[in-house]
């Protein structure tokens, strides 16, 4: 384990990102940088645009721009198909997963970064090994467990499954962020008479804000997007989450593309907004710990 990598502050990494090259506006740079970037942006953004066009233009229109704008499709999915309920369910699962993952990852990450205890290496290896367990292969045994616990058709089964599958990577990420906070800060607070717990809450936790944002958003996005667990564990429509609702829209409304697109926009808006805010923390977080941790 490259502890030297874990300890590196994100700020330093950022400075190194542009190794002494000044932007020059020559033809080579345009060909090498801007043309491929523009092409890739088209590939990325056109599908989003196409969905928005379908969601906003009236049924029967084939115009490539959403004009005249109508919100009838949103009214259909939100009120008639039940996306209002799906949205609330997904938000509950996402928020609880975020909460549990953040707290447990904070505890585990702190233990990994600050203590050398017997079994630490084993714990690390176990966390990495879990990354090779495909969730799709766990459907059957998890279904049996949740049935035994009486959690089938309960949103708690999704909260638990999403937390468990996201936790290992979250802990590794979080330990990178904790290691980046100098131990001297904590030490100084303890010399001033704080207990270690108080020192943690008073001086370490505030500095872990970027880490908590990265880990929490990561957990939220994964919980919001999870489809297979929700499909397997939930069969009552009142407890459907957005991806399950969307999959039924794909199946049943395959002629009504307006409704499908509007449902897609409802599904996309929260995660894309969260992502836009956190993507820079994500890159720093991974370079601070995950890839080489």
């Amino acid at each position: 384990m490259a502890t030297e990598t874990i300890a590196r502050r994100p700020e330093r990494v950022r400075v190194q990102a542009a190794p002494g090259r000044r932007p020059r506006r020559d033809a080579g740079r345009v060909l090498r940088l801007y043309v491929p970037l523009a092409l890739y942006l088209i590939f990325t953004l056109v599908p989003f645009y196409w969905m928005i066009v379908f969601a906003l233009r009236p049924t029967g229109s084939t115009a490539p721009v959403p004009w005249p704008i109508t919100f009838e499709h949103f009214a259909t999915v939100w009120n008639d198909i039940g996306y209002a309920t799906f949205f609330v369910n997904s938000a509950i699962v996402g928020a609880l997963t975020l909460l549990f993952t953040s707290v447990i990852a904070l505890m585990g990450g702190y233990a990994l970064a600050r203590f050398r205890f017997r079994g630490r290496t084993l714990f690390m290896v176990a966390l990495l090994c879990t990354q090779f367990i495909p969730g799709a292969m766990m459907l059957i045994p998890l279904f049996s467990i949740f049935r035994g616990l009486g959690l089938i058709n309960s949103l708690w089964s999704l909260v638990i499954a999403d937390t468990v599958f996201g936790l290992p990577l979250s802990i590794i990420l979080m330990s990178g962020f904790v290691a980046a906070v100098p131990f001297q800060v904590e030490e100084a607070a303890m010399v001033d008479g704080c207990t270690r717990t108080r020192a943690f809450f008073a001086v370490v936790l505030p500095q872990l804000r970027p880490g908590l944002i990265a880990v929490g958003s990561f957990a939220f996005i994964h919980a919001w997007n999870n489809f297979l667990f929700a499909l397997m564990f939930i069969s009552r429509q009142d407890n459907f989450t957005i991806p399950v609702g969307l999959s039924y829209t794909i199946g049943e409304y395959s002629a009504d593309f307006g409704a499908l697109a509007a449902g897609g926009v409802v599904a996309a808006v929260p995660v894309v907004c969260v992502f836009a805010v956190i993507q820079r923390y994500l890159v720093h977080g991974i370079s601070a710990g995950a890839v080489k941790g």
């Binding site: 766990m138 030490e187 370079s287």
Partner: protein, 300 residues
């Protein structure tokens, strides 16, 4: 058993001895109950006849499930073949495109933050939503494919075009995370190395081959491995976009397991398929780590 840092030595060693164990206990508990135990129970179920829709026939099966899988179920073998084709195609293309994308957004230019946010954004989109979006694009009457001179037949219903359509769709969502992982690796390369190489007269290509690639080696190995497991596991997209069709030509092994579990509730046979999947995945991962000499000191 001493903790890191000097301060701890003068602190409260007895309390601190169990502190790390207390801190990791929720994680250990959750992993044990919801990951380790289920893997054990898969092995157990794979030796049972266990079908929720036929409770009267449940009971010990011995190796019957495995016998059926290996000798009487051609779909097991075709799904395995398609899984390999799917993972290799996706990972190969994602590596090339993801590396190119990471190198581009690692340059400094005006609007870099916005460009990064935009090109990375499909990562946050779920497999089901990706399906929803690309169905709109692929639809022969309303989709964007009609501007690109696509044949009139449905792209997804044609066994000749469905693989390409599926791969392209997953690239849209898969390349960003590959690029994020590799960008993180790129940012760990000290800038002095590029300056030294430039002083020595190394051109752009040689700097890439002799500085960038060797330093990215571990990041590339880990990213390809993690993403391979991930693409292997990627049921959401295929389940909703093609459902494994047409005529089961796009059924991966995990999708087959999911169909057995969700649609026919045949847990015994599904567990045998799961066990086979675990063994194959474990074998391939270990082989790959061995062949790539991951973590070995190769930077010289």
């Amino acid at each position: 058993m001493a903790s890191t840092g000097t301060a701890v030595a003068g602190g409260r060693p007895r309390a601190l001895r169990w502190a790390p164990y207390l801190l990791i206990s929720p994680t250990v508990l959750l992993i044990a109950v919801f990951l380790v135990y289920p893997i054990g129970s898969v092995l157990y179920y794979s030796l049972q006849h266990y079908n929720l829709t036929k409770p009267w026939a449940n009971g010990f099966a011995g190796l019957a499930n495995f016998r059926e899988m290996l000798f009487e179920d051609p779909l097991f073998w075709t799904s395995l073949g398609f899984t390999a084709k799917w993972v290799v195609a996706e990972i190969g293309l994602q590596l090339v495109l993801g590396l190119a994308l990471a190198l581009i957004v690692n340059e400094s230019f005006i609007g870099r933050g916005l460009a990064r946010a935009m090109v990375f954004s499909p990562w946050a989109v779920s497999g089901v939503l990706t399906t929803g979006i690309w169905i709109l694009l692929y639809n022969p009457t309303t989709g964007i494919v009609r501007y690109l001179g696509a044949p009139e037949a449905a792209v997804l219903g044609n066994p000749d075009t469905v693989f390409g359509a599926l791969v392209l769709t997953e690239l849209w969502r898969g390349v960003p995370f590959f690029a994020i992982l590799l960008l993180a690796g790129l940012q760990g390369i000290p800038g002095e190395l590029y300056e030294a190489a430039a002083v020595d007269g190394a051109g752009r290509t040689r700097r890439f081959l002799h500085v960038t690639l060797p330093h990215l080696r571990d990041a590339i190995v880990l990213a390809t491995l993690l993403r391979s497991v991930w693409e292997f596991n990627n049921v959401d997209l295929i389940y909703t976009l093609t459902g494994g069709g047409p005529a089961q030509v796009t059924t991966t092994l995990p999708l087959y397991v999911a169909q057995r579990a969700i649609d026919s509730k045949d847990f015994g046979y599904g567990s045998a398929l799961t066990t086979a999947g675990f063994v194959i995945l474990l074998f391939c991962s270990l082989l790959y780590l061995r062949l790539s000499r991951f973590g070995a000191d190769h930077k010289g």
